[in-house]
Symmetry: C3
């Protein structure tokens, strides 16, 4: 019923390492939680830049949490407040999510919020992850993901909550819920969101194998809706949101709610149990030890 980071098998760790090695030429595309940890203590600069255009009613939210827009507790808190603020502003009808970081949309959940932390901290972190999903998946705004870089795990989830996904047509960028490759399991509401997007069978295989799809494969299975050259991702998103806003808001919002409510209700009615499950799991000695080994290896790779 929740994220179950096993991270215990040699297999998981070695396949992860090979994955990291294989993309070392990409530089900052990979998840680098150690760097994230360093940054966190040094920086108080905002992790989001929100450009709201009053005349169009569309806000563009640029994620700028270097190096890879990890979804840390700090980032998620700031993110949820920003979305809430726009949601309350009746003049804001559309929201475009994009990244200010090169080559990555978001690398997903920040491991530093799961390692060596108190149960209370882990619970607070998980609640923030849930909150991000709930806010986006149930948003009354038209939400467009302008995916201008790789988008694994939590980054893929964030994209999946949007009404429409436009991805940079770059074979080096990938997207997918790849938790299983790392010995981790995507929780039920990640799974439900993916089933709603690409269907049961594609989700089953994607989640069992932790598949990351190239942009063109992602288009083929319906994980994203459109590919455009990288420099046109944001302009295409802007044109798309305009098209969606031509539909009467009220009718669109009720329709969206009708489509998504059962999936949302499933989490809201199991929220505390889902948190408890995550905390029990992530604070296990075996899991913490695996996380530690994983971070140690990342450090060695860096030096």
């Amino acid at each position: 019923m929740a994220l179950r980071a096993t991270l215990r098998s040699k297999c998981g760790v070695s396949s992860l390492l090979s994955r990291l090695s294989s993309c070392s030429s990409h530089g900052r595309v990979c998840v680098s939680p150690v760097l994230v940890a360093q940054r966190r203590n040094n920086s108080t600069s905002p992790k989001l830049k929100v450009d709201f255009n009053q005349s169009t009613g569309v806000a563009v939210m640029h994620m700028q949490n270097p190096p890879v827009n990890s979804l840390s507790l700090g980032f998620l808190t700031e993110f949820c407040i920003a979305v809430e603020k726009l949601e309350m502003d009746k003049s804001c009808r559309g929201l475009i999510l994009t990244s200010s970081q090169p080559k990555v949309f978001s690398a997903g959940l920040d491991i530093m919020d799961m390692y060596g932390k108190s149960p209370e901290h882990c619970a607070e972190f998980w609640r923030a992850v849930q909150e991000m999903w709930l806010k986006l998946y149930s948003s009354n705004m038209v939400t467009i993901a302008a995916i201008n870089g790789s988008s694994p795990a939590g980054g893929c989830l964030m994209s999946l909550t949007c009404d429409y996904r436009i991805m940079a047509d770059n074979p080096r960028y990938s997207i997918g819920l790849n938790e299983t490759q790392l010995g981790i399991v995507a929780p039920f509401w990640f799974k439900d969101t993916m089933i709603n997007t690409v269907g049961h069978r594609t989700t089953e295989m994607a989640l069992e194998l932790g598949l990351l799809y190239s942009s063109s494969d992602a288009l083929k299975i319906g994980l994203v809706d459109q590919l455009v050259p990288e420099d046109q991702v944001l302009t295409t998103a802007t044109k798309t949101v305009t098209k969606w806003l031509a539909i009467p808001d009220h009718a669109r919002q009720i329709t969206k709610s009708m489509m998504r409510k059962p999936t949302i209700d499933k989490l809201t009615s199991n929220r505390e149990a889902d948190i408890q499950f995550f905390v029990n799991f992530i604070t296990k000695d075996s899991i913490q030890k695996s996380l530690g080994m994983y971070l140690e290896m990342l450090k060695k790779r860096k030096s």
Copy 2:
């Protein structure tokens, strides 16, 4: 939980008008409820022509409710009686639905049954819409939609209830649940029927945007099963029903029921609430005012 015609935003009305203008060259393809109202008072001719071939066990039902086969209370009542009659006739095993009107299969629900009417009338109308859906979606007969013209909204729903959909290969004909474009929301059972046909994600986008698909796009997403030249729609339907009737009736009927029962049960167990919801909504002053404005504009366009 029911049709929620908002029809209140300027956006909805203007986009509708532009839609009507843009297809003025098509003549009678568009919804023209004013004309329907005029006809209703003058005509007592049957709105359906049923040709039942005893030797094949197949009935062809030609809808002839000029100009656009609007699903009025009168039409729906006659339609349900005709379907019921065929259903009770053990010698009738197949039903082909088609249109006698040029360029249109059915333009959907008749707005005149929602405007300026008593709550009792609105309730009776909505019950008839439900009844049409229930009768067709649960029919023991093999049902084939021979879609020889445009089929928006309620016309699309009627097609979706059939076992198989053959559409005229004409780029000027379109099909889809486009309620949202008019500020209206397709009720949950419209949505469920579409999900059962084209899946969750395609339905979500189609309903949020109120998309009307060209015949070739409809084929691509699976909204129809086959395209043939317009003059072969009915002959192809006849050949298709023969193929389906080669399957033992009893096994086919039980299989059909197994596939559709959960969706049907959802409406039957919420039928009165669904009616009440519709009546409360449609009789609101704001909605009635919007409907009036809409009809006024149609009148001006006509003169």
Copy 3:
């Protein structure tokens, strides 16, 4: 709620006969329950050959129940014991299912276990069919179907339970849940398994018409995942299982369970009712008479 063999209409029997005639040149591809019955009394040789490779952790299970790997009570009992044994063996992580018989993977349920048998026997048989499905669909092992021949009805079901399906690229081989063509209805858990694989609409049409798909059509609708030349089916399966085993077992198993548990729970919580339904149905005079006629016709065809 269960298999409902009607087998009563002339249509069903004649279409079956024509199907059998049309493939007489294929020799043993067709279901031949009479032969199966003869064999059963003469043979005590094992119906399965299991090759377990300790170094890879992968078992290959060759079905050898001549002539067409009918799923008889005897075969199913042996099969379930073998699967259970591998499941309990922690060193066995992958399972490949394939056939030793030429041209057929499995022809499905053995009619001889439904004809002229006591209610107790029928109940025991049905429980074994359920058990086969439950064991395979919930297996912790990576399961690959190496479909090296035709795979109708129960043979298709067996394939559908696997994690991945590789089929011989041979236009003479077909696969599908074709029960309806024989006047029989696939029970709800057959249906659910197919919906999970190819979606609601494709399943609806496939089951209503009892469609058997050529290997290339099966690939197109997603009923199988990959086609390879016949002599490469097993080697491809071996490569595929290796790829799947690179994923940490624990994470993959939890993910698989999360995807399949609702479907499995539906049968486990209705198991006795499903058996009772089957027994009541299959022991009806009319059904037994139809089965008898069917077997009589098969005998005539043989002589």
